[in-house]
Symmetry: none
Subunit: 215 residues, 4 copies
DNA sequence: AAATAACCGAGACGGTACGTCAAGTCTTGAG
DNA sequence: CTCAAGACTTGACGTACCGTCTCGGTTATTT
């Protein structure tokens, strides 16, 4: 699903599928390019990332990159798209609180590891190419949806009662709070904070409402 | 307060305050530079913003910009820092729900108006200059704190009962959810969504807990 | 001969001759660059010659110039090196006096035509790059040697007696006097002066000594 | 005499002599500026000489230099003009050959010491400001004339016979040959060369002609 | 087997912008 | 009016990358 979506934006340079004469593209190169891009994204950040450096690092000609990606933003988008996605942790055996905690911890680690380089790409590319921005947003979105389902699935199966629409609520709020903490607040996204989020935000929201407040 | 904080990072090029020899800097130029920067940020977005264009638009030599700002990121940071901040709306006469609604609406407009250009600056500059990133985060933070106080101040004065730590909770959650919607979800941040946020997220969190939840 | 010598100094940016990978350089550009350089040298003089103007005039990117020449001095040196040298006039049918006169006249014209722009290059570049200065000196030297041989060759063939070492003596003295007149004295290098040089300096020196001077 | 000549070109910025109100110029500064200029001319050569560096080295404001000199060329011209001129050696007690030899040796040393920096100034300034070029030429000329008179004066007094117009001839030829050797030939201007010049060029020219050649 | 066609590396090319340096002018406060 | 300091505009510097192009050469499929 997300595959095709991303291909819509990054695949502008796909060869016509019917005309397969001539030497086929070397898949080795795609791998090398993606790896080099991710590497340099971490080393230098988005706007100090040069395509020439990616080409050099990947041992590849610039042509080979431009044949595959329209520009820097598309290159980065594709690299992120195809990176090892890292499945969210299995929470089937955990209680609700632990399931939430493990999940937001995993989320925070993902964001910290990726360093915001990919988000920089999203922002920088947004104005130049709205389609690219859309692709980036989808990439971000897919993991969050899957994550929400899995985090709350176990609890639901075990019959824990949840507020109606809990899955959507979780998908709206949890990533928002964690992303905001990592990127904008400048404060550490440590266990203390995550416990605060779980106990003071998520649990109150997701648990079924008690009887209407007396007053 | 935020002034000094920002000066720490963007003021690397400040002249030694004790050494007042020589022609003083012309404050007119700062204004022109900031205005031109904001303009072009809106017109072209962060990564298509060139310092040469800013200089031309401001009617100023490039040197005059470089004398004040180390690079593009610092220039943008300063421009945003010194822009007219736009006070959050007065909510003293409103009930809690309306106060929250008005406030998140104002927040969404602010973000939309600024187009994410300033956030692009934050991301792009993060790796190159962590101090700059810190400054940007502070800029983002200051309004949010003030906003939270004001949004909930009126309600508290009228004796509406709030959960303990409601102000902090609001400051943590509301901007996170709205920012996330605007920047990452790709979905419209319209009234329907904002009402959803207020009714399903903020109000449940901020209202005082009813009797202890049934164990 | 002079080709290789000049390439040693101006060719610092030559690509390795064995490595013929990649798109080859376009010789058209060299020609355009040299022509534009010579043009602007005449129009503006050496130190008002800007590389950007050369690029514009040649219809070429700045990079294309810097790929070939380290800096302004090298650019000018190369342009002069490759310019149409202008052969000294044929003096085979003339007597000695006329041969000398025609030759120094040609020399004076050469220097006047080149405006000292090239000599300015030599001086300006000397300190920055001694190798460049050496190349310039060679360029200056080659024509003078050829000229001396030709100017006196006809006379020698016709059996006119010359002092021993006359060719070397001529090459030492004639260019020196003419160059000095044109560049340093500020006085016109007209026919009267050139006749003076021929009659009062060159002929006395080059004619064979009469009987040993009275002790 | 040469003072006024130089003042014509470099003294454009002289204060009106009648209006001597206000603080008088500090002569100390002129000295410091000239010294710094000469220093830096030797260290960096003409075209790498910056007025800002001169100001810094002289411990003087840029204004103070521009109040006195129109531009770089004028600054350098003035510095050379006012430098300790170094009188040509006394040759009264020497024979003709030794007098000539000592004089051309002194000339060669002068030129070598000044490194061509000053000649670079002459060339560079020629196109921009013909008046400056004229001044530079005069500076060059005056020493040569004085030198010629002195070199041949002793011999004449002792009754050595000289060719008619010997002084002018010497002034024309000797500096030309030496300057040309130092600046253009790239070969050393050593004693061997200077003896060659004296024995093979100057003496034959300056000694009175023997009787007309027999043939 | 030969022809065809796309791939690939390398790197030249015209550009745009970078961040720096210096030129020459202007503006302050102090003397 | 002079001086030191330094801000200012202007313009060129030499560098880095952009995205395009042209080479020689490679690797498949199609004739």
């Amino acid at each position: 699903m997300s595959r095709e979506a991303a291909d819509v934006s990054s695949g502008i340079r796909e060869p016509a599928p019917t005309d397969i004469r001539g030497r086929p593209r070397d898949a080795t190169r795609d791998t090398a390019i993606n790896a080099a891009t991710i590497d340099l994204l971490h080393e230098r950040g988005y706007d100090h990332l040069s395509i020439e450096a990616v080409a050099a690092r990947a041992g590849v000609g610039k042509t080979t990159i431009y044949r595959r990606h329209r520009d820097k933003a598309a290159l980065v988008a594709a690299a992120i798209e195809h990176r090892a996605a890292g499945a969210p942790p299995d929470t089937a055996s955990l209680g609700l609180r632990d399931a939430l905690l493990v999940t937001v911890q995993w989320l925070a680690e993902q964001l910290t590891a990726q360093d915001g380089g990919m988000l920089g790409a999203a922002f920088a590319g947004m104005r130049s190419d709205p389609a690219l921005a859309a692709a980036m947003q989808q990439v971000l979105h897919r993991d969050q949806a899957a994550m929400a389902r899995q985090a709350l699935g176990g609890a639901a199966e075990r019959g824990e009662s949840l507020a109606p629409g809990a899955v959507e609520l979780f998908a709206d709020v949890a990533p928002a709070v964690v992303v905001h903490r990592v990127l904008f607040s400048g404060q550490p996204c440590d266990t203390a904070f995550l416990e605060h989020v779980v106990d003071d935000v998520l649990l109150p929201l997701l648990r079924p409402p008690t009887t209407t407040p007396p007053l």
